[in-house]
Symmetry: C2
């Protein structure tokens, strides 16, 4: 994306009041040029994934209404669903108080968004309190799709 | 927290299969020792905030059932609500596929969680598509509390 196009979308950050109380979009990207993006199902409210966007991905998400991210493992712009078909249509995009995080409410085609095959990436619950340290609990009865059929031999993005 | 206590809670990361399909909690902290935490209202599903936890904050959240974060601006452990009284009681804690993000479903005392005074930190909506570049829209009709009354002269955590 040309720098001019990004300038047209994003304002410079000048004061705390402007950032917190103003109506200009002035996002803060971190040292790697990224802003975290929380993605929820627009209907159920379920958190589907936590991704990251660079300036281009955020600008494309705003202009197209489809979620674009920056893939940290593949180090490339990532139009979600380009490989899997599981496109995310953005119903609403919100920015937080200090404008260093965004929240996308989306509708997902195909009913899933996790590369492991589950509906949500957050498919395991961590026991708390007296049960701390016991086994994680799987919260989805089964996978929504078979990742081998969708992704084939593509490298797994999980890093140890 | 003693290193022994953290070892008892967190498993070492050995294989992709263990991390993605296993029932051991083996979180991945970034180069700064942090893991991002998405916090939603357990009843409404609304995203309240995106915070960060170090190993101690995550272990304390698990053992106490109250949300603890690492404050990146103040560089200290942050028991949410210790200053404001707006404690977050964790109803459920989930971890994502590659275990580098957590999702907390919480109940908030006082009905608010944002230092600016709103219920959610994500109180502004970004216009999309044909309306891209127009003014952000404020989605909460009014602030839930007056931050000057709650925080007094404490420094504002927002960084430009």
């Amino acid at each position: 994306m040309p720098a001019d196009a990004q300038k047209a979308v994003f304002a410079a950050r000048t004061t705390v009041e402007q950032v917190e109380e103003g109506s200009e979009l002035a996002p803060r990207f971190d040292a790697e040029g990224l802003i975290p993006a929380v993605t929820t199902d627009a209907d159920s409210g379920e958190v589907l994934m936590l991704g990251y966007m660079n300036a281009e991905a955020l600008a494309l998400t705003i202009s197209t209404g489809e979620a674009h991210y920056w893939s940290r493992s593949r180090r490339c712009l990532w139009h979600k669903g380009a490989t899997s078909g599981l496109v995310q249509t953005v119903v609403e995009l919100r920015i937080d108080d200090d404008q260093d995080a965004v929240w996308l409410r989306v509708r997902i085609s195909g009913g899933a968004s996790c590369h492991v095959g589950y509906r949500s990436c957050f498919y395991r619950s961590v026991p708390l309190g007296d049960e701390a340290g016991t086994a994680l609990r799987f919260m989805e009865p089964e996978k929504a799709f078979d990742p081998r059929e969708v992704y084939g031999d593509a490298p797994n993005p999980t890093r140890l």
